[in-house]
Amino acid sequence: MPFVQEILGYRSISVVGLGKNTGKTECLNYILNRLPAEDFTVAVSSAGIDGEVKDQVTGTVKPEIFLREGTLFATSEKHYRERKILSELLDISYRNTSLGRVVTARALAGGKSQLSGHPSTKALKMWIDRATGIFGANLAIIDGALSRVSIASPAITEGLVLATGAALSVSMDNLVFKTSYMVSLINMERTSLNCADDEFLPTSGIWRVDKCGEFNQLVKGGVFAAGSIHPDDLVGASAIFVSGALTDRFLNQIRTACIDNNIELIIRDFTNAFISHSNYISFTRAGGKLRVLNKSKLIAVCANPVSPEGFKLDSELLCEKLSLSLKLPVYDIRRIQNEA
């Protein structure tokens, strides 16, 4: 069975869709159905408040997630009350989300439930630790919404499976191009600087980082207030840490300072890079170093050749082209399911 064997080597993975209707949920079901049935407990949850039955944008019906007996799952109080599964309630979180608190339960028989998410990246991380520690799961799988509305970042898991598909673009070349750009962002190197643990790093502002990992604030607020970074402030800095989103405008303002003085630009993880492909390429080609704090290992890419409008790309050709460009195994879940 492709890539499921590799997943078993991880403690936590997230499944992330490059856009809506790229087949993320199908991919998740595929993995859940193929994990070992004996002596193996899996815990599933979602990053962000997601999980409507019907896709609110395109109106297509979303496949529900099927949970087999013994699976641990976390969802909001609202969705727990609407579940179609016999399950035992294990734990309730203290913090509220817009759909109520997060409930952790164990499936006592096979059934279905919507998954909805944790209010913050920190809460998600804590849940993974609890699920794999106290509740004894062998693997935690996060349904990660890559759409920018996701509150918790999926990049804190060890591994990552990316779902891409014709919903993104019906031009195969364009699809390959967009996917490989995302893959290069996911594969950005982790910073070599010895920074403190992510939890203790500032959550707002732009900071200079010294060789020994000391932080000093350059700008309060986000990148929009960043016109004011003075070259003198950067003398002797090893890196600039952008705690929030990295935008094109900020990258252009700071690029020469970074390249000339060999200063790393550090962001939290790939979901914080809101920059265009051309800016990214021109920055990295000129020797600029864009680094992340949290990095997940990209395990595999799944491609869905069908777009919600009914357009269908050639599955085999798509996988081949993607695989060639990404230098990674690419699977069409539906096709391998039918062949199996």
Binding site: E69, R81, L86, E88, L89, L90, V103, L108
Partner: protein, 446 residues
């Protein structure tokens, strides 16, 4: 007055609250809603209990049982809404039943731990029946679902559900109808325990509050005051917040001692930067800490409980209301005078009243205010720079500059003259020497 409304006062109660380490967030919420203790008898019985809690915590600080107790308490959740909804007849859902089971199990775990202790902590009601009801298979783990043993019919249906290969929605819905029936009957069974559940929740929070307060008491070196009817007395009063930050810099806070009596308002004189405002703030803080049952930051204390604390501090200028700082201050003092007609159970702490007006009228205003407050038998301290002529007042002043260092000690004095140290202090701050010389020359001339 609720503890919540002291949070925005300038005397620093927020800092006290933020330094409490609760095991469960519920306890903090309950404490914030608590009313200030006003009567001698309530305060005295509270402090009797509190001092035995402090002794207990002090003796068992390193013991596992205390850590264990705190750890169990950390599982307590705020389920007041669930309890009140159920007492109004709501049928509980799985989440609510889980919460009730969780509370009852915590209560039942802690109950035997406390029974071995003499009556220090509030008594927890017996909830073993609720535990049994929600744990029919005697697994004694806090998770919950509608167990098979509740209903034979449900058990059979579930067997079918589990054995079927495909997910059968129809079967699932049949099960949920039966589950609903079980929940309804559980709700009825639990109904008669709701009062005890509510009592247990409050008492668990009370235990947590006691432990958090005792912990702060030990950490901050507080003491338990005596309750007095006539006069308030502090020996070695210190400001905990400032004292901690000074200690971090390697310095020590210099504590002060003082008396406040009803028939003799205290006039506090002394140089600028002599700690008058800090002392007033600390007295206000200490009074609140006393009446909310925290203990007080002093070596020894004897305190009169009051109904109201007036702490006039700093600048009240409010441009939005179109009031100058003088007008705002006058209005507050007016309010104090109005209240004092009703009761003399007031502690009035006035930091330089009428400071923003001319010294001639200012002096007259302060002198007359002092005589009013004395007549009405309020507990009063007034800090001022004016040379007030006040009969029957207790005058205290800050010792002031000695050998280039400020001595913050308060001493009794008979002088009417306010000490003249403004220029010395300005000099120590490195202010323009020519200006200060000219000022000294003018004083010499007069």
């Amino acid at each position: 007055m609720k503890l919540r409304s002291t949070m925005d006062l300038s005397c620093g109660m927020r800092e006290v609250y933020l330094n409490l380490e609760f095991s469960s967030p519920l306890s903090g919420q309950i404490l914030l809603e608590r009313e200030m203790y006003l009567s001698d008898s309530i305060l005295s019985s509270y402090y009797t209990k509190f001092s035995s809690v402090v002794d207990f915590v002090f003796q068992n600080q390193s013991l596992l049982s205390l850590t264990n107790l705190k750890e169990i308490l950390s599982g307590v959740r705020d389920i007041r809404n669930t309890i009140s909804a159920m007492s109004a007849g709501k049928v509980p859902d799985d989440v609510e039943l889980f919460e009730i089971k969780n509370l009852s199990m915590i209560s039942e775990t802690i109950r035997p731990l406390l029974s071995s202790l003499p009556d220090i902590f509030p008594v927890l009601p017996d909830l073993s029946d609720v535990v049994e009801l929600l744990d029919p298979e005697a697994l004694r783990i806090p998770s919950f679902y509608i167990y098979d043993s509740y209903d034979l019919e449900l058990k059979m249906l579930r067997k079918d559900l589990k054995s079927s290969v495909e997910f059968k929605e129809d079967l699932y819905y049949k099960c949920s109808v039966l589950e609903e029936r079980v929940r309804r009957s559980l709700g009825k069974d639990i109904f008669k325990y709701l009062n005890n559940l509510s009592l247990s929740l409050n008492n668990l929070a009370e235990i947590d509050i006691f432990l958090a307060k005792a912990d702060l008491f030990i950490r901050w070196n507080l003491s338990i005051p005596n309750i007095s009817k006539e006069k308030t007395y502090y020996q070695a009063l210190f400001n905990p917040e400032i004292s901690i930050s000074l200690e971090k810099q390697g310095n020590k806070y210099q504590p002060v001692s003082l008396f406040i009596e009803r028939n003799s308002p205290v006039v506090l004189m002394g140089a600028n930067m002599g700690g008058k405002s800090v002392s007033l703030r600390t007295i206000a803080l200490s009074q609140y800490m006393f009446q909310f049952g925290f203990g007080v930051p002093a070596e020894n204390a004897e305190i009169v409980p009051v109904h109201q604390i007036f702490h006039l501090s700093g600048d009240y200028q409010d441009l939005n209301k179109g009031l100058s700082s003088f007008a705002a201050e006058m209005k507050m003092i007016d309010l104090l005078l109005k209240e004092s007609e009703r009761t003399n159970s007031i502690l009035a702490l006035l930091d330089e009243p009428a400071r923003t007006t001319n010294p001639y009228e200012g002096k007259a205003l302060v002198e007359s205010l002092l005589s009013f407050l004395r007549e009405r038998m309020l507990l009063t301290i007034v800090a001022t720079h004016y040379n007030v002529d006040a009969l029957d007042c207790t005058k205290m002043r800050v010792k002031g500059y000695e050998n280039g260092r400020m001595n913050y000690e308060l001493v009794y004095t008979q002088d009417n003259e306010a000490p003249q140290e403004a220029i010395t202090i300005a000099r120590s701050l490195g202010v323009n020497e020519k200006w200060l010389e000219e000022a000294s020359r003018l004083i010499g001339k007069k």
